[in-house]
């Protein structure tokens, strides 16, 4: 199988000791000699070993050889390509060799660190080097693809993360389009009263930012709207937005609120007031709403349901009411997209033993936020469901729906601090006895544990134990008319029944009910939990696998306000970097169709999840748009005519690597085959 073509190549092999990380288990000299002797016939002209290939000296070694021995292929046997592929590619290009003619063989992660027997380890290392050599012989010089970046950015979701991202970009002078599903931006944070650990009022720090967004010359806001279609690719997305009818003419409306005052229809506000308060059929969710324009709730408006009333229209001083509005679709061009779509609150009804929905005085965390909020249904009065009685004892239950295989396995991150915040507020406002029931107290990050200390000082009682049940079935004296929290006090090792007036459930955070559809719409992935998947959990948390689409805030996973803000800013920074580049370089791992071989069977067209393959009816052949193609190679594998080839992962490359790994290129070695 040795062809003339291969012979002409000049391959350099470099075996890294990585201190003792590799050399401790693999006989690197043996591997080096193997490459030099047994693979000489495969074009290996030089084979060296070195303590640390990734060191500048190690890299210079490669550069020098490329120049002096004019190598045209390089194989480095060291660590995982995910660590140092770039390093050695750069070394190659410094030496004047196309970086894609360099292969990295992972004999650390895949050999020395996972194998005990030195002999076997060395044999495996040899096989992998041989595989690397065979593969690199088939590599083609590649140039990174580059595509222009449209300067505008789409931000989906007007919560704190989205707001932060939008402002960062807009302030740097680039246009931003923000799409928000609800009538106003602000997200969950607008519903909160105080924010931990500093206890500054949410509205006080949020509303200024909301106003900035509303008035920003570089930001176009589409509230009461949703993205319904996304076409194109990084740098050049075409996005279709559906603006739901407000039935209010935004040009005429002054936001005076008379319509709301006059509207006779009062309904429970399930969204902003968390079902704890009421709103009118024509409403703005809250006084500081941005934009100021109200919305008419079609399902509850007397006119739409019965054809009568029209009070709002009668009293509107500027004739801004327009019952004839309909869905409006607008199309925009953007270069990048940031998804900050937030979360849904876990439905506490699912934990039946906690009695939410059955027992009147069991509240969810969001309900309590509204309860304690000065602008809420009780003007900040912390009272029982009857609307008047102040609780004299309150139990706060952590991990409701979180860290529990019956619901969600993950930790919702915010609940511990939230529980502490609630404890403080209850004490401050009512002086009631407060219990916190926790499994583990998680107060990581700046000033959080200090807050825990403070709440301890204030006399909140802590019980370590996941609450078993909340019941109104009185059993012992003093339990009549109370809610009894039954739990094991795991530190006292005893079961306890604690009668309280009010129970607050620290409900966990869940992915949006439609997170998966949204992910599909924008062509990104969801984790099994339903959170958007980031490109790298540690090193690339706000990028996604789809170029040009970024994520921020809780949509990526449970997190608190500071982290959400940080992610919003981070996503913005990534986008700004892109915009300033003007164009973006893409890894040239792409598929392409040999139009002469293509039989036009169209099998590949349906396989591509990124719609990168278009079909030319006229010539009856398929073609792949390199900017859309993400290089997964599914079409390559599927093409019956073998007309599609994937750069970087061509059939030849993989076939040869197989032969290499199986040592077909050298005289069979004992044992292995």
């Amino acid at each position: 199988m040795t062809t003339e073509k291969d012979k002409e190549h000049k391959v350099g092999v470099y075996v890294c000791h990585c201190g003792s990380n590799i050399a401790g288990v693999v006989d690197v000299e043996d591997v080096r000699d193997f490459a030099a002797k047994d693979l000489e016939g495969r074009g290996v002209v030089v084979s060296r070993d070195y303590k640390f290939m990734c060191s500048s000296l190690g890299q210079e070694l490669i550069e020098k050889d490329i120049e002096e021995l004019d190598l045209d292929r390089v194989v480095v046997a060291a660590c995982s390509p995910h660590l140092h592929e770039k390093t050695f590619r750069n070394a190659c290009s410094k030496g004047g060799l196309n970086p894609y003619l360099c292969e990295l063989v992972s004999i650390r992660e895949q050999v020395s660190w996972v194998t005990t027997d030195k002999g076997q380890a060395t044999e495996k290392a040899k096989a992998m080097v041989s595989g690397g050599v065979e593969r690199v012989l088939q590599n083609d010089p590649l140039e990174p693809l580059s595509v222009p970046i449209h300067p505008a950015t789409l931000v989906v979701g007007g919560g704190i993360a989205g707001i932060q991202a939008a402002l960062e970009i807009a302030d740097s002078g680039f246009p931003v389009i923000m799409v928000e599903r609800e009538p106003s931006i602000g997200g969950h944070m607008a519903q909160f009263d105080k924010t931990f650990p500093t206890l500054d009022c949410a509205a006080c720090i949020l509303t200024p930012k909301m106003v900035d967004v509303g008035g920003h010359q570089n930001i176009t806001m589409h509230t009461w709207s949703e993205v319904v279609r996304v076409d194109g690719y990084v740098g050049n997305f075409t996005v279709t937005i559906k603006k739901k009818p407000r039935y209010i003419d935004e040009d005429l409306c002054t936001g005076c609120g008379i319509c709301t005052d006059k509207c006779p229809k009062k309904i429970i506000d399930e969204v902003f007031e968390a079902g704890l308060g009421y709103r009118k059929a024509v409403y703005t969710p809250f006084p500081q709403a941005v934009p100021k324009y109200p919305v008419i709730d079609y399902d509850n408006c007397i006119y739409f349901q019965k054809g009568t009333c029209k009070a709002c229209e009668k009293f509107c001083p500027t004739e801004a009411i327009d019952f004839n509005q309909e869905d409006e679709y607008i199309t925009i061009q953007v270069g990048n997209i940031i998804l900050a779509t937030g979360y849904d609150l876990f439905d506490a009804r699912r934990v039946t033993q906690y009695g939410y929905g059955r027992l009147a005085n069991v509240f969810t965390s969001l309900e309590f936020e509204r309860l304690s909020n000065a602008a809420g249904p009780t003007n900040g009065e912390i009272v029982l469901r009857d609307g008047v009685t102040q609780p004299s004892s309150v139990g706060i239950i952590h991990c409701v729906g979180s860290r529990d295989r019956n619901y969600n396995n993950y930790c919702s991150v915010i609940c511990c601090m939230q529980g502490l915040k609630f404890a403080h507020l209850v004490k401050e406002r009512t002086g009631a006895t407060v219990y916190n029931f926790y499994i583990d107290m998680r107060t990581a990050y700046k000033a959080y544990d200090e807050f825990y200390q403070r709440v301890l000082e204030e006399g909140t009682l802590f019980v370590r134990g996941k609450v078993a049940e909340v019941t109104d079935a009185a059993r012992l004296p003093g339990e009549e008319g109370k809610l009894i929290i039954q739990t094991e006090d795991t530190l006292a090792g005893k079961q306890r029944r604690i009668p309280v007036d009010m129970v607050i459930l620290s409900s966990g955070l869940e992915p949006r009910h439609d997170a998966y559809d949204v992910a599909k719409l924008f062509g990104i992935a969801c984790s099994s939990d339903g959170w958007f998947t980031e490109k790298h959990p540690k090193l690339d948390p706000v990028a996604t696998m789809t170029e040009g689409i970024f994520i921020a805030g809780v949509a990526q996973g449970p997190k608190d306000i500071p982290t959400s803000v940080a992610q919003g800013a981070a996503a913005a920074a990534r986008v700004l970097g892109r915009i300033q580049q003007g164009e973006i370089e893409l890894e040239p791992v792409r598929a392409s169709v040999d139009q002469n071989k293509c039989s036009g069977c169209r099998i590949c067209n349906t396989l591509c999840p990124f719609n990168a393959i278009l079909f030319h009816e006229d010539r009856m052949v398929s073609e792949i748009n390199p900017a859309l193609c993400q290089g997964c190679g599914t079409c390559v594998a599927a093409c019956p005519a073998g007309a599609i080839s994937g750069t970087g992962f061509s059939n030849d490359q993989i076939m040869s690597q197989i032969e290499g790994l199986l040592m077909l290129n050298v005289a069979p070695v004992g044992g292995a085959v």
Partner: protein, 158 residues
């Protein structure tokens, strides 16, 4: 080297999950038998059944195909396609008179280094139990011919 039969297994990994799982197994110093030699693909969806036949016809005793868990594919859903091909492939192998157990599909996320190592260990044991692969005489050990065999599979698959 011990005198017991040491199978050679080619493993195909997805760049985003199982290859990183292998990295993780390494960083975590999880030990597993050295019989598996990994090849990196961008996605299990890239796996052309021909590769497997090629590997088996060229001397491998078994093949391990790994990819992201269903629903977690970085290319949305290509691992499902890998699954389909895998199932079909096993049938083809049967027809060719090869134990389909020699080819195994394993889901392993980037976080599942231990899991991957475990799977590798079991597979090695299973293949060891099966003994060396006798590539059917009807098909010579010549890669090219296996390649042809493969193309027919491919049409069926796609």
């Amino acid at each position: 080297m011990t005198d017991q039969f040491e199978p050679v297994i080619i493993g195909f990994t997805c760049n985003w999950c199982s290859y990183r799982a292998a990295d993780l197994a390494g960083t975590a110093r999880v030990k597993y038998p050295p019989n598996v030699r990994l090849i990196r693909l961008m996605c299990s969806g890239r796996l052309d059944p021909t590769f497997v036949l090629k590997a088996l016809s060229s001397g491998a005793d078994g093949v391990m195909i790994t990819g992201c868990h269903p629903g977690e594919c970085h290319y949305l859903e290509q691992n499902y396609k890998a699954l389909r091909r895998y199932l079909l492939l096993r049938r083809t192998l049967k027809q060719m008179g090869i134990e389909p157990e020699r080819v195994k599909l394993v889901w392993a996320s980037a976080a599942e280094g231990v899991h991957l190592a475990k799977e590798i260990t079991t597979l090695v044991e299973e293949i060891r139990a099966l003994g060396p692969l006798q590539w059917p005489t009807s098909i010579t050990g010549n890669g090219k011919k296996a390649f042809l065999e493969g193309s027919s599979v491919k049409e069926a698959v796609a």
